[in-house]
Amino acid sequence: MTLLQSGVETPENDSPQRDRAAVTHALLWRAAAILGAATAGILVLVVVLEAVSVDPVLAWDSMWNSTFGTWRNFGETLVRATPLLLVALTLIPSLRAGLYNIGAPGQIAAGGFVATALALQLGDQPRMVSIVICGFAAAAAGALVAAFPGYLKAQFGVNEIITTLAMNFIVISAIGWLLNGPFKGSYANLPQSDLVPDNAALPVLIPDTRAHYGLLIALAFVPLLWALDRSRTGYRLRVFGANPQLTRQARISRRRYLVGLMAFGGVGAGLSGWMQVVTIDHRLYTTVADPIGYAGLFVALLGGLTWFGCIIAAFLLGALLHGGDGLQVGANVSPEIVQVVLGLILLAYAIQRGRSATKEIRIPKRRSPWKRSKR
């Protein structure tokens, strides 16, 4: 057993032949598992669709059209993929340390609320001011909501899965109260806020679509993660994830890392709440987190806790989620079916990954050309 699960090359992996055989073997297994899971998933879907007498082909057609059919629809897919990517990327460090932050909906709602409140206050301030203030505040709000379960875990050893889930319900009830009381908009007697001024919105990235600059913000986390991985903090985090006992002996504060990791996971969620309100919805609704929900976590897991995997998984799940909305319009299938798909994916992943969900399958790393080790 090596100290770190990844990144340390053990001697038996050094010979090139064994390397190749091991890689091929691992990749084949993985491909077989994915294919098997996909086939099983599709079969289940077809059975379910037939059970409610919907033509699966029609359903597929309307899903395809609504995701990739036109340029505008493609933009919608990106709109759905952006928050998923954000949440997934910021969740990577905590998942690597074996912390499950399932509180994305609550953190999204908190970020959305703070962004709404500030955007309404700021009113007609210049666009940059409004965007920067709202964005940072939303990130802070998401981080704060996520840090609380981290603190409880560090201080009392309370299971973070249950507390983050409980926080979802608490935050969303609080938002529900705010939108029925102090923050209720003047437009109608509905639980929604006033219209957020236009200059708080992020500019559009691709013309004629709704795809916005949030995508670039999400992608900006990739170099950040890369840098974190190579910094001292990143090294300590890897030690923390691999062997908490060792962390204690090295006098690294467990509490600080627990809280910090959880808070970082909340940053992405808070930011996506902000984007959802100021750029897409333009009002705060109690359902602000519904388009994203737990899917960010799925993206992180499916992406194998790597940034590249997350980008691909976010795009695919974004397409799936938006396609689910298309189903409603095109084939009169209610979009709840997408949840079933998500569940099936996670189920396949959980079984395939085995007991240690955060350990990666050990595919020996190819040495990068610019970091050739001295032999």
Binding site: F156, I162, M167, S173, G181, E336, V340, L344, L347, R353
Partner: protein, 296 residues
């Protein structure tokens, strides 16, 4: 007095689903399987009971089918977490997302909004007359009595029988169980199936007993609350009863208080969750009797 009576009787009615599911989770956690998928099992039971009764098959088949279908769903958990050695928490979370999604999908697609028929109330003749608590405790529908009987059964299972001891041993030291000639995986599978059936009954009591119809997301996080109840109840039956009653009392008071005062109902909706967090924090200070192999 009248308010007290009303709150008590709705608290007892709301307690039954929690209690049934808590008994199931208790068995499963004692065997060392953390079952986040409880929400899914309860939804499966709730939806099945609704579908069967709306299909006109009667109450008894509805209850039985709810237990059977939820046990089938829990067999996914058993296969995934016990036999294929998947990550129990993630398998449970997958069911947590998938089953309510499927139930909502089928419900919306069929769009049947019938109410379920009223259940027969069984009454204990004399005790019913006790002022205050008599109506709440001795004049209830069939699920209440099922829950009471099952409480006694599960209590006796763990305190008096070899089987209960084996389950507890599996949670603490699976190796020892193996050496004694029993397969821990079989024990865990049976425990998970029992958990599914009990949670299914809990779900059925929610649709048929407490609510009287089905609506999307009817379970609404109760599965998670139940997990917290079991942890705070220190994996014992009396603890589960006390925890379930506490949460149900809060739920019952929520409706009352918001009628009688200015405290908005949305904030009261957060109350059970705040209590759950406090319960979890408090439980870490208690003597630990947690099954040792349980991943917490």
């Amino acid at each position: 007095m009248e308010t007290f009576e009303a709150v008590m009787s709705s608290a007892v009615r709301l307690m039954v689903p929690l209690l049934l599911a808590a008994l199931g989770e208790l068995i499963s956690e004692r065997a060392g399987v953390m079952n986040i998928g409880l929400e899914g099992f309860m939804t499966a039971g709730a939806f099945t009971a609704f579908a069967v009764i709306v299909g006109g098959w009667g109450v008894l088949p509805a209850i039985l089918m709810a237990a059977v279908v939820a046990a089938l769903v829990s067999s996914i958990m058993a296969v995934g977490a016990v036999w294929l050695r998947g990550n129990a928490i993630l398998v449970g979370f997958a069911l947590f997302v998938m089953v309510p999604g499927l139930a909502n999908f089928l419900y919306v697609q069929k769009n049947n909004q019938d109410a379920t028929p009223k259940l027969h109330i069984f009454t204990v003749p004399v005790l019913e007359k006790i002022p205050g608590i008599g109506k709440a405790l001795f004049s209830e529908n069939v699920f209440y009595w099922i829950a009471l009987v099952l409480c006694v059964v599960v209590y006796l299972l763990f305190s008096r029988t070899q089987a209960g001891l084996t389950i507890t041993a599996t949670g603490h030291e699976p190796e020892t169980v193996r050496k004694r000639g029993k397969d821990p995986r079989v024990v865990q599978t049976l425990a998970v199936l029992a958990c599914g059936a009990l949670a299914g009954l809990g779900g059925a009591s929610l649709t048929l007993g407490a609510v009287g119809s089905y609506q999307p997301n009817i379970v609404d996080g109760r599965g998670l609350i139940v997990i917290a109840i079991v942890i705070l109840g220190r994996w014992t039956v009396p603890g589960a009863i006390a925890g379930a009653f506490l949460i149900a009392l809060l739920d019952a008071m929520k409706l009352r208080v918001s009628q009688d005062s200015d405290i908005p109902i949305q904030l009261l909706g957060a109350l059970p969750w705040i209590v759950v967090i406090l319960m979890l924090v408090a439980s870490t200070r208690m003597r630990s009797s947690a099954p040792r192999t349980l991943t917490q």
